[in-house]
Each structure stands twice: as C-alpha cells, then as structure tokens.
C-alpha cells in the first residue's frame, strides 16, 4: 500500500488544527456560558470544562504546528466525499509565507497563555475569554489558507478554504463532543450541565458538514473520480449522518430525560447504543478525513469497509476501557 509520509503528516496537520480550533471555540463558548449563568455550580463546572478543553487545544496546536514544520512542499487537497482536486505547486508554495505568521502568533499566544496560567491563574482567568477567542480566530485563519493560496478569488479557491475550515466544525467538534461525553460519564453533576448542550454542538457539526457539501458543489464538474475511495467515502458519510442523528437525537434525548427524572437508569441497551454510536461517529469522521490525504489507496471497496469495521471494533473496546478508569471530577475552586 502506497502511503507517503507527506500524506500522513498532512493528515496530522489537519487533525491537529481541527482539534485545536474546535477546542478553542468550545472553551470560549463554555466560558461565555459560565459568565452568563446564575448558578455558582454551573459557573464552576463550565470553567472546569473550559480548563479541560484547554489541554486538548494545546495538544492540537503541538500536533498541527510540528506537522506543518515537517511538511515538504508536496501538498494535495481532497474533499470528504472522495472527490479530488489538486492545487498547483504555486498555490501550495504560496500558502507557506501566508500561514507562517499565523503559526508564529499561535505559538507565542500559547506560550504566553501557559506562562500566565502557571504563574498567575487569576490573571489568566480574567483574560481567558479573550484568549480562547484569539486562539480560535488565529486557528481559523491558518486552517483557511493552510492547503493552498493564489491570491485570486474563484470557485476552486473557495472550495479549498471552505473544505479546510469545515474540519474545525466537523472532525474537531466531534472529537470535542466525545471528549466531553467521556469526561462527564463518571459524574452526574457534569452530565446535568454538559449533556443539555449536546444538541447545539451537534447542530454546529451538521452545519459544518453542510459547508463541506457546499464547497464540493462549487467544483462539482471537475472533481468526481470514480474510485473505490470515492465509493467508500460516500458510504461512510451516509453512515455518519444516520449514526449522528441517532446519537444526537433519540439517544441524547433519552439521557437528558433520565437526568430530568432524578438520574433514573436509562438501561443497559441504551448505554450500549450510545457507546456504539459514539465509536462509529469518531471512526467515521477520522476515516473520511484520513482517506482525504491518500488519493491512490490500492484497496478495494470491500477491503476499505472491512478495515473501517475493524477499527470501530477496536475503538469500542478502548472506549470502554477509558470509561472504566477515568473518574475525574471538577475541582471546586473553579480555576481555568
């Protein structure tokens, strides 16, 4: 199987930026929630969540930045549906100087943020809202122009920008959602505060996927290639839509209903559905983003589906092990 190292690094860069952007966005949103809610408990919990998301953001920044540094000049951009478009060498090279200042600002912001948080948590707390917003905006601009830049406005360029940006709202936000779900599983207090926000987070994911569909529609005539990769991507996108609806709709409503009725048990069958749906969701988003970066996968449709199902099974086991050992609770001092 031909997997060039540059493809893996490009995937790592996209994954890192998407996770970091989504974590910064949702840390900002949770801080806004904490400042607008009246209950002390809610304020503390939303601060705690923002604090947890902060580490996810730094993880994404480290992954995205190191991958960007390691990338060669060999770039390619692919849509989530297995549709393929290649930016020119000029566009690829032009993206380097355009995004370099953004990466520099990102690193400086992160170092300043970490230093201030370490030495003076109160000062960090005071400026945390602006800090996460700034991080998100920098990540958004980097992600927009990370794959190609030519300075001109066209449908193809709009495709590159929209296709890159949407991963913050889809893959990144899905990973944040699962991170929140796992973090809250061991605490009913956390569940009471976090789970009611899931329908809104899911709506952002649906809108993000809609942005990708729109971007593909812009370049539709030039982009379709009938490969096993295309058929596989189409299948996985269909599965993740159905699975996502079941997860964000009936399953989330069932959990919310049980929380409203004094933590009445939702039953093992529903919990199993939730676990499977969460695993399918993460695997599907990762799979379509991963395969974006491998235009010439020498595997048949059936083989790709087989690998996809195997990964779901492996992650399902890992997911359950995490639940068994992660028992983190929010610290009541409420520091970010």
């Amino acid at each position: 199987m031909e997997i060039g190292i540059e493809n893996l690094v490009a995937f790592a860069r996209q994954l890192g930026l998407a996770v970091a952007g989504a974590a910064a966005l949702w840390a900002f949103v949770f801080l806004v929630c904490s400042r607008t809610c009246r209950s002390d408990t809610s304020q503390i919990i939303f601060h705690w969540i923002a604090g947890r998301l902060q580490w996810l953001m730094y993880g994404g920044i480290v992954l995205g930045t190191t991958s960007w540094l390691a990338l060669s000049l060999f770039y390619e951009v692919f849509a989530h549906e297995g549709i393929t478009l290649y930016p020119t060498a000029y566009e690829v090279m032009a993206a380097f100087p355009i995004t370099a200042p953004g990466y520099l600002v990102l690193l400086v912001l992160s170092l300043v943020g970490l230093t201030v948080r370490w030495h003076s948590p109160r000062v960090f707390h005071r400026y945390a809202l602006g800090y996460f917003l700034a991080q998100f905006l920098v990540l958004l601009s980097i992600t927009s122009f990370s794959s190609a830049w030519s300075g001109e406005v066209s449908a193809e360029k709009a495709f590159f920008v929209l296709h890159s940006v949407h991963s913050i709202f889809t893959l990144g936000t899905v990973l944040v959602l699962d991170f929140l779900f796992l973090s809250a599983k061991s605490s009913r207090t956390l569940q009471q505060h976090i789970f009611p926000l899931f329908p809104w987070i899911s709506a952002v994911i649906w809108i993000g996927l809609g942005i990708d569909f729109l971007s593909v529609a812009l370049v539709f005539d030039d982009a379709v290639m009938l490969t096993s990769r295309f058929f596989f991507s189409q299948t996985v996108v269909g599965i993740l839509i159905i699975n996502g609806i079941l997860l964000s709709g009936p399953i989330t409503r069932k959990i919310l209903s049980s929380l409203e009725h004094g933590f009445e048990s939702i039953g093992k069958r529903w919990l199993l559905f939730a676990d499977i749906a969460g695993t399918v969701s993460i695997t599907s988003w990762s799979a379509i983003t991963f395969i974006d970066f491998f235009p010439e996968v020498p595997l048949s449709y059936v083989q790709l589906i087989g690998i996809y199902l195997t990964v779901i099974a492996v992650l399902f086991v890992g997911h359950n092990l995490w639940e068994r050992y992660d028992t983190a609770e929010p610290r009541l001092e409420g520091r970010v």
Partner: protein, 64 residues
C-alpha cells in the same frame, strides 16, 4: 415498532436519515455499476439541507 420509531425520531431527523440512506444506497449502486449517478448525489444533498434547516429551526423554537 413503527410507532416507537415515530415517537423517538423527529421530522428533521427523519429527513437527515433519508439523506444518509440515499448516500449509502447511491454509493453501493455506483460501486456496482461503476458509474456516477448524479441523481443520488443531488437528492442526498438536498435532503441534507432540508433536514439541517428543520433541526436548527426546532432547536431555536425550543429555546425561545
């Protein structure tokens, strides 16, 4: 069974499920036929758009 499903899943969600189903069926059909059926592609995307609008509308309506 049909009643339970109707009770559990909202209209906007049904539309998105239909969109996903069209996408999966279309992909399998295209894989077998080795041909691009543009009708599947557009039908799925139109359904998707309608479904998302319905879901977001419902969220706002429940909040306000």
């Amino acid at each position: 069974m049909a009643y339970t499903l109707r009770r559990l899943i909202q209209p906007g969600e049904w539309v998105l499920i239909a969109s996903g189903a069209v996408m999966v069926v279309g992909a399998v059909a295209m894989h077998i036929g080795q041909e691009f059926y543009v009708e599947f592609w557009f039908a799925a995307k139109v359904l998707y758009g309608i479904g998302v609008v319905l879901i977001v509308y419902k969220l706002f309506r429940n909040t306000s």
